[in-house]
Amino acid sequence: MRALPATFREQARAVRAYAVESRAFALESWAGASPIDRLALVLVPLALFLFVGAVVSAVVMLGPTLDFLGANQPLVRFVVVVLGILLLTVPTAFLLIYMELKVIARMNLRVGPNRVGPWGAAMSVVHGLKVLAKEDFAPTGVDVPVFTLAPVVTFLASVMTLLVIPFAPGIFGQDFNIGLLFFFAMGGLSVLGLLMGGWASFNKYSLLGGLRSAAQIVSYEIPLTISVVGVILLAGTMSLNHIAQAQSGSALDWFVFKQPLAVLIFFIAATAEANRTPFDLTEADSEIVAGFSTEYSGMRFGFFYFAEYVNVFIISALITTLFFGGWTAPFNWPWPYNLNWLDASGIGAAWIVIVGFALLVAADVLGLAIWLFRGRQWSAPSAFGLGFVIAGAGVTILIILACIIALDWVQGIFWFMVKTYIFVFVFVWMRGTLPRVRVDQLMGFAWKWLLPASLLNLFVTAAAVIILNLPSAR
Amino acid sequence: MTNANVLPTPDKWPHLLLPAAGGAASRGEREAAGEAVVTREAGAGSEGPSAETVAGPPAVPTDLNAALDAGAFKGLTEAIRDMTAGEIVAALAGSGLRGRGGAGFPTSEKWRACALAQADRRYVVVNAYQADPAVFTDRVLLERNPYAVLEGAAIAAVAIGASDIVIGLRAEATEAIATLETAVREAEDAGYLGDDVLGSGRSLHVEVKPLQGAYMLGEETVLLKGIEGRRGQPEQQPPYPTTKGLYGKPTLVHNAQTFAVIPGIVTGGPGSYLDAGAKGGHGTVLVQISGSVANPGLAEVPLGTTIGEIVALAGGVSATHSVKALLVGGPSGGILPPDAMSTPYEFEALEAAGAYMGSGSIVVVDERSCLVDLASVLTRFCADQACGKTIPCRIGLRRLAEIGARICEGQPRGDEIERLTDLSADIVASRLCDHERRSTLPLLSLVRYFRDELDAHIVQSTCPAGICQSLAATPAGSVS
């Protein structure tokens, strides 16, 4: 009788056993390595090499770099700021996307994303990665150079405007004295990107989208700029930083109370400028599919998408700066209170070391307490870990409070961010509720209503300045 | 020889199948007993219509010589030598012989259909598979008179041009199998069977096929399946086995009793058979009488005699008890009231009375037993034995048995009787084989004749006979 073959289960077990013991052999042959092994094989030596190189160059080059930096302070400052702004925009865009997803969902009686990361927080990051990973191919018949440059122009236009926005007393990109003008100039550039995108995609829908966006932004640019002139008259300068300072003191000194009509016009015109509902004619889903970005995919579409959200952030920032006092506190805030007495011993920067050491000690004590309290069920490292986390949280809160009290720029950022995100919420709220306006109504409204209103506001403000002989007139 | 009790029958009754009463009395003794034994001579005209007794088969069943003296294989020699197939079938038609399988189908039509069917090979199958476990008629016939059956089958084979004969019977009937095999061997030695039969160049091979199996193998198409070694499930008819039977070839299937009578018809001419039976049917049939009778056993009864006479044969109802009902036709027979004693025991009358000949068994039920319990147990038996091929039989009978069980347990649903009759009508209407048509008889005859006992169970939920435990309202102590 022939020997009966072993059952399939046994054969499978045999194959797996072979696979395990042959794993050692696989590491030598690149083909057999799993992806993680391959990554490790490449990155580890590279990291080592770079680390060594950095240490050597730091030691050798430290002296000359320091004095070069010391020599031309403004250039360094500019480079740092530009880097900061560029790095800042993408996270804000992510934050806004996540906020919009969640808020509109809540308004629709839905829950919104809650599967990716805690409460769905990683949703926009995942969107970003997805957009990054997708292939952005150019369909046939597309005018390739214009097609690829369009998103860059739009994104840059909206990012550049961040340069002039005063986040806090000392914290701002570049304090041009013609900050506002620079702002509107950059705003105008983004329309160029949309047009280029629309025209280059060789698709009727995007063509319509592009033309619509051109018409819309151009016709809303005028009331937008005129409505801001009132503020300029009051503040006497176009530099946003000074405008913000002009409104310092309590909430009553904010220009919103002096320029009520201007706020309204500015708000409406700004929504149209950023293509936000109810004026999102450019990518009206139900009519012209996705407007100018119909043919875009991958990171090109990503730029358009982020540009839109950065625009929203900028506009709300501008509204807070121009009319709601930028980084000034709503009531005369007793602080910044001088905390120098804390630093009686004058060790200055050494404080950081002390705080770090204190943090470690606190972590150990807490870890021990938790370990005992838990009756030794937990393993020591996890108890210590929890202790460290709690201690760390406690220390950071303390530091932030100290900064708010002590440093005026932290305070400034706090207030600025609060006000800006209130307006972002309003924009998102509008997107959740309002239907879309028709193209001709949009145009009619701009030319027949907004323009005359902004002119009226300009005339009244000018008259007021002359008659009441306000300080800025002198 | 199984000690089945063969009841003595009055002399005027013909003895075509079994030797005359008195069990192993050899021919010689019977002569000594003074019975008028007339040996039928070939071609002799029948002497008048009155009861002629034909020399019964030899006392020792397998003694060929004694059998030859008694006229065995005479019909076969006549059939082979000087009768053509047409004449044999004509003789059979003249005799009006009807199948003994319970359905009573005229035999000659089957032969004609089988002879006409074009095929290179035909079979003759002797259905000696007595499905009803309580009845031994075929077994006793094979033990007491094997040569008659063999000769009948041989004649049939000659008539339809078959050369293979298969005898299917129960494996439990060990003596019958032994007797048959010795009879076949002796007949082959004597040249009546085997290759060159009586020098006529025909060959007749006989194969005895003991089959173990279920109740269903009594039905002809199921028996063929059993012989082929496949699942015993009936086939759609038509095509009838006469055109497409064993291994797909035309097959003639008859009960053993039908074959046993044929030699007499061939030798004595159709007339002799005609008058050997009262009005209605012709010839005799083996009936098994059991139940509460003085001397239960089986007897050869001419068709048309009343059930009362048959029961009297077995000594009548036992003295201590009175008859309550008559179960005629085996497990799927009809339960008839006592006044059915007067109905003649032949096909049409029984059908009219709501029973049927079936396996030829009559059970006398006395007042001690509960008819509802009996009917539901019989239906349960039929449901268990169903081969399961068709839905109405497989599920319908099971539901029917459940209805019977519910009535016995005393939890009948409101419209039990109407549901019962309605379901039975559906089962009978969509039957594939006779089992479905007959299995509904016990409960239906109960509804027809014993409505009061049924109502007692359903309405007052009492069991007059005290058999149904849950309903035993009557004082205990009644013998169950």
Partner: protein
């Protein structure tokens, strides 16, 4: 151990022989076309009729724009070829048939029971009305008398479905005009109603609940409790949801005076239902050709005169209020008794013709059944209201802007399932 014989069934896999690429190989032609920039326009579609020829000749400054069939806003797979000059619509050529399944032919090859569930997917947003029309026609053919309780249950479930269909209509109208929230509110509302009907009929969309001579199942406790709970807050919920749109200036400005359909045009094209009543003609099948128990129910037929998209929207909101009233009445005087008439297992109506019409959410839903005595209908003609309503689009759209096409088409509330049959 039984060895399995060698596989003879599957052929060994070989690579097809490498052919020499001939001149007219498409890949060669494509490379040449793209590289040599010889991108001449695709020859125009061969026009057959005179109207088509006139439509497909293009003036200067004009262009064709395909709206559909995969367009996000068309209800199902409707394709509108627009001839635009700038944003202005010059002419429209609707193209139908993308959802054609030959339902009528299938119904003519199936027996009378089977037709009922063939008919459901036609007007899928309101499947019960379609069944009702078919069942009405067959009952006339076989002159079957439907028990009163079944009639009331039919009215009850159908009116519920009408409310859910109109809520859907409101959601899609707002979505086509850019609003994101109303569609969600309407789906929440609709889901509640559909859950209720699932408790009664067993299905959420394609119910297969009506039978010739009655309905499939009687009211059960689960359905009644959910209905009671929903009725208590139905009116308040509808007002809240519509409140979002009724006074919204943007919505009103986009809907008022857009796609005005006057009486003559509506009557000429056979438009029925809400769209007709919005143009001032108070025609409602429930009143004009009363069927079932509607004569005993008192409800009024809301009509408006303006005939624009806003009127069509407001009419449907009024109809929702009317339906809530009808459901109330049904619940109050619901008779008891059987829900299904006794019918033979095999239905062979005597040869004849019958017309059954029902007032569906989108208009008069009719079935014209001809039976020739066999167990399959000889002819099963379905009259669908959306087909008539869509007939009007090529006459309403020219002159409007591209954005208005959405407002007008979705205000007519066409269902492609019914149109393409």
């Amino acid at each position: 151990m039984p060895t399995r014989p060698a596989r003879t069934t599957s052929r060994p896999k070989q690579r097809p022989p490498e052919q020499h690429r001939s001149e007219d190989d498409p890949r060669i032609m494509l490379d040449r076309a793209v590289s040599a920039d010889l991108y001449e326009p695709i020859p125009p579609y061969p026009t057959r009729t005179e109207r088509e020829a006139e439509f497909y000749t293009i003036g200067d400054g004009e262009m064709f724009l395909n709206l559909g069939p995969q367009h996000p806003a068309t209800h199902g797979v409707l394709r509108l070829v627009l001839k635009l000059s700038g944003e202005q619509i010059v002419d429209v050529d609707p193209v139908l048939g993308y959802l054609h399944r030959g339902v009528e032919k299938i119904c003519e090859n199936s027996d009378y029971y089977h037709v009922i569930d063939q008919v459901d997917p036609l007007e899928y947003a309101s499947a019960l009305f379609q069944e009702w029309a078919a069942v009405l026609a067959f009952e006339k053919l076989m002159d079957v008398e439907v028990p009163p309780r079944a009639e009331y249950i039919r009215v009850l479930s159908a009116e519920l479905l009408r409310i859910s269909s109109h809520t859907l209509f409101m959601g899609f109208l707002a979505l086509d005009m850019g609003g994101l929230t109303p569609i969600l509110y309407s789906f929440i509302e609709r889901d509640e109603i559909v859950e209720m009907l699932a408790a009664l009929t067993g299905a959420r969309m394609l119910f297969n609940y009506f039978r010739i001579g009655g309905v499939n199942g009687d009211l059960n406790h689960e359905f009644m409790s959910r209905l009671g709970d929903w009725m208590s807050r139905a009116a308040k919920q509808t007002e809240a949801n519509t409140g979002l749109l009724n006074e919204n200036e943007i919505f009103v400005r986009r809907a008022r005076g857009v796609g005005v359909m006057d009486r003559e045009m509506a009557l000429r094209f056979g438009v029925t239902g809400g769209n007709l009543r919005a143009s001032g003609v108070p025609f409602d099948v429930r009143r004009a050709h009363p069927y079932s128990v509607y004569p005993q129910l008192d409800f009024n037929v809301p009509t408006r005169l303006e005939g624009d998209s806003l009127a069509r929207y407001l009419i449907r909101m009024d109809e929702v209020r009317e339906s809530i009233k009808i459901i109330d009445q049904c619940l109050n005087n619901m008779p008891d008794g059987p829900v299904m008439a006794k019918l033979p297992r095999l239905l062979r109506p005597h040869p004849g013709r019958a017309w059954g019409a029902v007032e569906g959410p989108r208009g008069m839903l009719g079935v014209y059944a001809i039976s020739d005595g066999t167990d399959q209908p000889f002819r099963f003609r379905i009259h669908d209201p959306s087909f008539m309503n869509l007939e009007v689009v090529p006459h309403l759209l020219p002159g409007n802007l591209l954005a208005d096409t959405m407002a007008i088409v979705s205000s007519l509330d066409p269902i492609m399932g019914g149109i393409d049959k």
